[in-house]
């Protein structure tokens, strides 16, 4: 049985790993995005997760030049 603070640390750690893995493929944290929109732009509509995902996917390989290109 893990102590509560250890369990908290473990869940923080796994969250960090998952966020890291998703950012590696160009998808930032959705919760952070929702939180940001709610706090700073309550008047604007918030994208649902599938739309958010598609938007990020298009942005990663889009017209920005080198986006998505990996090193040699």
């Amino acid at each position: 049985m893990l102590k509560p603070d250890l369990r908290k640390r473990w869940s923080d750690f796994t969250k960090c790993v998952c966020q890291g893995a998703r950012l590696m493929v160009g998808v930032p944290d959705y919760e952070t995005y929702v939180e940001h929109m709610r706090r700073n732009h309550p008047d604007r509509s918030v994208m649902a997760y599938p739309d958010f995902f598609r938007e990020r996917q298009a942005a990663r390989y889009g017209g920005e030049g080198r986006s998505g290109f990996r090193c040699c």
């Binding site: 995005y33 940001h36 598609r54 290109f69 040699c72």
Partner: protein, 697 residues
């Protein structure tokens, strides 16, 4: 005081341990040295460099300010600009910079023995590579996350901006050609490898459809499904290879694969990204990180002995893998892992838009590059634990060692690396291939090394063929991802560049200009790929130095930019931090570039090679690989193109250095700060500053 001494004491111990390990691998006397000593020497070097040198750069040179707003804070939009946890961002940055480069260069460099490679990787990364990544990240972070091209335009002027953009496009072409060549060399005459790599296309398309329509955005889930399918493809590949009907259907010559790749590159880069590119990118990214972690674990647990001597007789420049003496060509051959100009594009790409605090640029910029350097060290270890006789059998062109196990064994043994035909055949059988002779390009050698390490841990000899094809798949997968992402990026670059002269080309939504730019881009790398595949010396001999020169050239350009910024910040007394590595890279690229053009030895100089062929043609002779006078003319034409390309790279370096010195002098003479940074906080964003920011755009 006592506390300060104690806090340095641990670092002194790390330093002593590192120095001891370095001494041990440098003065080996006939006995085999354990690979762990290289790992110890490398890790100690990284720790000391990170603790002291990167801190010095952060505090003294850049004066990083934790209170200052980063672009992520200033422009936070939850999408492109997001303040991100530094470890999460470290992972993102590392995944973006680590590719095939640090895996292949060190394998090729092992022909001179492991020592020159280790020394250059360690010295290069500490003093040049990590400094470059850190510096560009810093410069971009202070300028709203602008790209390298925009930064050069803003700090050096519009002409060097266009020169750098053009140089970057040419580098992209050479990188794509050399990466594709590595895949061709690894898959030629290998039905097992070809089948597994071909299977990634339908697997990725399935994943793409799944993520688009069935479970939108379920990255983790779909990646696990894709991974399982990939492993099944490797296992099933053996059955395919042994089947009398399917085996031959998946057996292709290098030239056939070359055309397949060119067609594939064209189609893949105009398909919608969600269908093929994105899902395969997920697979290749996770497989890459996993395989690198497994390799590190494998080396530490298996602790193999190094078979390659510290120095071989080929330090004199007569080696079969690539031609040219240690200086400058070793420093060109190992680019990524020591210093890689391409990172300047990543460090001025998404990473600076995600940093939450300026102080973290040190971990991500400097630390990220140290990590990539460690990948290069592991690749060098993997190549050096193979029997040297097998290493040279795999990496020497057929023109030198013939095509049978007997001829190869005789020639390689004559060079002083004893190997028997039985050993060569047995190695091929172990890894499930028909032949391992002249499998140049680095990837198959690395795969054999990785298979040895992995099979030591799991599965023993019976699993070696599986691990070999796993390693080939892992490399081919992310190389192919780079090929279609790179073709796409190259197309946008070309549209940008041509748009300067023909504004119509700029329209990325237009089908006509997109198809035309894609065709031009694929045609450009396809030309060099075809030339490499048909080259009797294996192609790597020609293309890898061109790639190295172009990559180091871009690094020199990035370091010149860093120097200019340091001068503009009135910190010129610390400018040696970027001037020293820039000067070294300029000396290396100019020497190598000029030698590739003018060297009298046809194995090194393009013009000497062209002359040999044109003299022979004038006397009516036909030299291999040409079979008729028309092919002779083609070889001569290729040589002249390569020479012109080298000359172009030399010109890019010289002109950027000229503009860099000019900008430094101008900043030095100015009596005030002239760096064009974004203001420190939003509150300071008055009209004048806002004007300066928008002028940078």
């Amino acid at each position: 005081m006592a506390g300060a001494v104690r806090s340095h004491l641990i670092w002194v111990l790390v330093g002593i341990l590192g120095a001891f390990a370095l001494a041990l691998i440098a003065i080996e006397r006939g006995e085999h040295v354990n690979a762990l000593w290289i790992v110890v020497a490398a890790v100690a070097t990284y720790l000391i460099a990170y603790r002291y040198y990167s801190l010095f750069i952060a505090r003294r040179v850049m004066q990083l300010d934790p209170e200052r707003e980063t672009p992520a804070v200033r422009h936070n939009d939850g999408l492109d600009y997001v303040p991100t946890n530094r470890y999460v961002l470290f992972g993102h940055h590392f995944a973006a910079i680590a590719g095939a480069g640090p895996l292949v260069g060190p394998v090729l460099a092992a022909q001179m023995g492991y020592l020159p490679g280790v020394m250059w990787i360690l010295a290069g990364v500490v003093l040049a590579g990590a400094v470059q990544d850190f510096m560009v990240l810093f410069v971009s972070m202070r300028r709203d996350g602008r790209s390298l091209g925009e930064l050069i335009r803003a700090e050096l002027g519009p002409v060097p901006g266009v020169i750098a953009l053009f140089g970057t496009f040419m580098i992209m072409v050479i990188i794509l050609a050399v990466l594709a060549l590595i895949v061709v060399k690894a898959l030629a005459e290998s039905p097992w490898g070809t089948f597994t790599v071909a299977a990634t296309v339908p697997i990725a398309v399935f994943m793409g459809l799944y993520m688009r329509y069935i479970r939108p955005g379920a990255i983790g889930e779909v990646s696990v499904i894709g991974f399982v399918l990939l492993m099944l493809a490797i296992v099933f590949g053996q059955t395919i290879a042994e089947s009398p009907t399917w085996g031959p259907a998946f057996t292709f010559t290098g030239t056939q694969l070359c055309w397949i790749l060119i067609g594939y590159g064209f189609i893949a880069s105009i398909l919608p990204v969600w269908l093929l590119l994105a899902p395969r990118d997920y697979l290749s990214t996770f497989l890459k990180i996993g395989a690198i972690a497994a390799l590190a674990l494998g080396i530490v647990v298996a602790a193999p002995d190094l078979r390659m001597p510290a120095l071989t007789r080929f330090v004199d420049g007569t080696g079969p893998v690539w031609s040219g003496s240690l200086f400058p060509f070793l420093f060109i051959t190992i680019a990524c892992g020591a210093v890689s100009g391409f990172h300047a594009l990543i460090s001025s790409g998404t990473t600076p838009k995600l940093i939450d605090n300026e102080a973290n640029a040190r971990l991500i910029g400097y630390g990220g590059m140290l990590m990539e350097s460690f990948v290069a060290i592991m690749a060098l270890v993997a190549a050096s634990i193979i029997e040297p006789g097998i290493y040279f059998t795999m990496n020497s062109p057929g023109a030198q060692i013939g095509t049978t196990a007997e001829s190869a064994a005789a020639k390689v043994t004559e060079w002083g690396f004893p190997v028997t035909p039985q050993q060569i055949e047995e190695t091929a059988r172990d890894v499930g291939e028909h032949s391992i002779i002249s499998r140049t390009g680095g990837a198959p050698t690395l795969a054999v090394g990785m298979a040895q390490i992995f099979s030591n841990l799991i599965g023993g000899k019976a699993m070696m063929a599986f691990w070999y094809h796993f390693a080939i798949l892992f490399e081919a997968l992310f190389i192919l991802t780079a090929v279609d992402a790179g073709t796409r990026a190259g197309r946008f670059m070309l549209q940008d560049l041509l748009g300067l002269f023909m504004p119509r080309f700029r329209d990325t939504a237009s089908w006509g200009s997109s198809i035309a730019a894609t065709a031009l881009c694929v045609g450009a790398w396809g030309y060099f790929l075809y030339q490499g595949v048909t080259d009797p010396l294996g192609g790597v001999n020609t293309l890898w130095p061109l790639f190295g020169i172009s990559n180091q050239m871009l690094a020199a350009v990035a370091l010149v930019l860093g120097t200019v910024v340091i001068f503009r910040m009135k910190r010129e007394r610390y400018a040696w931090v970027t001037i020293l590595p820039a000067a070294w890279l300029i000396v290396c690229t100019l020497t190598a570039g000029l030698q590739k053009i003018f060297h009298p030895d046809p194995a090194i100089g393009f013009l000497a090679h062209a002359n040999r062929f044109s003299n022979a043609l004038a006397q009516g002779q036909v030299l291999a690989p040409a079979k008729d006078p028309a092919q002779m003319s083609q070889v001569i034409w290729n040589d002249r193109i390569d020479a012109a390309l080298s000359a172009l790279f030399v010109l890019v370096v010289v002109s950027i250095v000229y503009y860099g010195i000019r900008a430094c002098l101008e900043a030095y003479r100015a009596d005030r700060w002239t760096a064009r940074e974004a203001p420190a906080t939003r509150d300071l964003l008055d009209e004048e500053a806002a004007g300066a920011v928008s002028a940078m755009r």
